[in-house]
């Protein structure tokens, strides 16, 4: 069978599975819609969290990104896993004990203020929409690349699927679909990785092959460093960014991860406090399987690519080269007209430009793997994008139905009315996300820094202070959130949107790039909250008692 048929078959089977699960796990109450009734087993929640967290970017772009960044790619690897330690130790068990439905719920109750709740709702919706537009685009891209349909048709098919199980099933439907999606995506990521590891190093386990030798007996990473040196690229295994920038970016991604509402809310779905702790551990194991394989794939792909193209005749390139050239993801211009591909570090002499997304998507073709493996990669990319999109849409729907309508606009709404409002909000959110996917705002790549920066500078500090301090009050929290948010937003807007020409190391504060500035925003938030709280009255007694009570499992 050809790739096309295989792809239709495998994607078709997985989609049928998702819809089947959605029908089986319909939500009947608001509690089921928001937190799956709180009955999810820790292991299932760990898988669902992993799928929720690993997006189209983790699946499709990350390995490619690392293969072009070398050592510096560690900011993503450590940043997007280290946050789970913070979640498990500092956030998940306490918010589970608090026992409500959403993150703005906690902020509003702990800081006894609807202003604080509203700021939190605004942040949750902004962060989630930012993220979800990228996911819908990812669905469209995978469809167009593998099934040769229009990108927009792909987005619409994705919308219909998500609409079906998010609106019908709420958190309950999403949870069990995410479990299935995790299995699909990890299988789809690991199969080609294992094949390529065997091919390049003879080792079945990519994590070991990464440190192993290639056929000629030289260590893979030494070979890669050697190739880089020869061609004038910076060494693969050494840092290129400044130390302080690596520091701040890693920290912003870690605390941003721990502050993202769609991740936190997953820990409201397990029955007990101790389940919340262990399920963060399971989630990180499931995530680590992909995250420790990705850098190995990055090194394999990089070596393979250089060996295939560097100093070779353009006319003798394999079939995939031309295919990806057509999509514009590879471009070659023969500057010295010698018919050879000159792939070097010096931009004046370099003749080849390669898009990072190719590394995962074309890897099976480059390594000449069977057609069903290529089809599997398509299904895996879709699973990664759809699972993340659904989790984000649920946060948007909950924020509107629960935090705005039920808690502020119309507290007398019936349970049935609230459930209906949540479904309508989810439906509208799917449509808005789809429109973003079809007409992507030109700034999608830039706004990801924004999402993490905002989560790091707003949610993370106020949640941590809300749990570990009884003294931080309403005034302090609101002031801290506003200072953290405004500072981080202005810095990112200044360098990313207003004056992108000035976005260079010399102009950055202390050499911190916009990607890492959320860390500084977080520090400001902590300081301002502490100082303002010190000069204003302490929180009411019942709030202090609530803080006391969330510190113990019973």
């Amino acid at each position: 069978m050809d790739v096309q048929t295989w792809t239709y078959l495998i994607v078709g089977i997985t989609f049928t599975l998702y819809i089947g699960i959605a029908i089986w796990s319909r939500a009947g109450s608001t509690s089921e819609f928001y937190v799956a009734g709180g009955h999810v087993s820790p292991l299932a929640n760990g898988m669902a969290t992993a799928a929720d967290w690993m997006s189209a970017a983790s699946f499709i772009s990350m390995a490619g990104l690392i293969s072009f960044m070398g050592y510096d790619g560690a900011v993503y690897l450590m940043g997007w896993t280290g946050g789970y330690v913070l979640l498990a130790l500092l956030i998940a068990p306490y918010l589970k004990k608090f026992g409500k439905f959403t993150v703005p719920d906690f902020v509003g109750d702990r800081y006894y203020s609807n202003t604080a709740r509203t700021v939190a709702v605004f942040c949750a919706i902004f962060v989630s929409f930012t993220y979800v537009s990228g996911q819908m685009r990812g669905v469209g891209v995978v469809f167009s690349r593998f099934l040769e349909v229009n990108v927009n048709t792909g987005v619409i098919i994705g919308m219909i699927i998500v609409f079906f199980y998010a609106v019908l099933g709420g958190m309950k439907g999403i949870t069990y679909t995410q479990v299935a999606q995790y299995c699909v995506l990890i299988f789809a990521f690991m199969v080609p990785a294992i094949f390529i590891s065997i091919l390049m190093t003879g080792n079945v386990i990519p994590q070991f092959g990464f440190g192993g030798t290639t056929v000629d007996g030289v260590y893979l990473l030494d070979k890669l460093d050697g190739l880089h040196e020869e061609l004038g690229f910076a060494a693969y295994t050494s840092p290129k960014k400044s130390l302080i920038d690596i520091y701040f970016i890693t920290a912003a991604l870690m605390v941003g991860t721990a502050g993202l509402p769609h991740v936190i809310v997953r820990f409201f779905t397990v029955p007990k406090v101790k389940d919340a702790r262990i399920s963060a551990g399971y989630a990180l194991i499931f995530i680590a399987i992909l995250y420790t394989t990705a850098p190995a794939v990055a090194a394999f792909a990089r070596t393979n690519l250089i060996n295939t193209v560097s100093n070779q005749q353009y006319s003798s390139m394999p079939e995939w080269f031309g295919k990806w050239e057509e999509t514009g993801l590879i471009s070659f211009s023969d500057k010295n007209d010698n018919g050879m591909i000159n792939y070097v570090g010096d931009p004046d002499k370099n003749e080849l430009i390669i898009d990072r997304d190719i590394m995962v998507l074309a890897n099976p073709e480059i390594a000449q793997l069977p057609n069903w493996v290529i089809a599997l990669v398509a299904a895996g990319g879709l699973a990664a994008a759809l699972s993340t999109a659904a989790g984000l849409l649920l946060v948007i729907s909950t924020s509107i139905a629960h935090d705005l309508i039920k808690k502020q606009i119309n507290p007398d709404i019936t349970e049935k009315g609230e459930l209906k409002a949540a479904r309508i909000a989810a439906g509208v959110a799917v449509i808005v996300a789809g429109i973003f996917g079809i007409y992507p705002p030109g700034f999608v790549a830039q706004v990801v820094a924004f999402a993490f920066g905002l989560a790091a500078s707003s949610f993370f500090p106020i949640i941590i202070m809300g749990i570990f301090s009884k003294r931080i009050n309403k005034e302090g929290a609101i002031a801290g959130m506003i200072v953290g948010l405004l500072f981080t937003s202005f810095y990112i807007i200044y360098f990313k949107f207003l004056f992108p020409g000035q976005n260079v190391t010399e102009n950055w504060w202390f050499g911190i790039s916009p990607e890492g500035i959320g860390t500084l925003g977080m520090i400001f938030n902590f300081i301002v909250s502490g100082v303002v709280s010190h000069f204003t009255p302490e929180p009411p007694k019942e709030v202090q008692e609530m803080v006391e009570s969330i510190r113990y499992p019973i």
């Binding site: 050592y71 450590m78 130790l89 440190g211 192993g212 890693t250 680590a288």
Partner: protein
């Protein structure tokens, strides 16, 4: 449960957090970032050690830290009789 035993439980929890988060900090920010160049002089098979901590080792340590915490807290919950039956 008395306030005193509550306080003792919470203090022990904070002590665990301080120790585990120090290891978390050490494995990523110190070994994986600050000391990467000197550690790269040490090799384990094909890996330079600093590079390995940054792209592999820190992640394994993160996983272990969470499970150690879970184990310690389950024991602590039982000791102070605040565990969920």
């Amino acid at each position: 449960m008395s306030d005193q035993s509550h306080e003792a439980y919470w203090r022990t929890n904070l002590k665990y957090l301080a120790i585990l988060l120090s290891i978390w900090f050490l494995s990523s920010y110190v070994l994986g970032i600050v000391l990467v160049e000197p550690l790269n002089a040490i090799r384990i098979r094909g890996f330079k050690l600093g590079f390995w901590f940054a792209q592999q080792g820190s992640i394994y340590i993160f996983v272990i830290l969470i499970f150690v915490y879970v184990h310690l807290m389950n024991k602590l919950d039982r000791k102070y009789d605040v565990d969920e039956k």
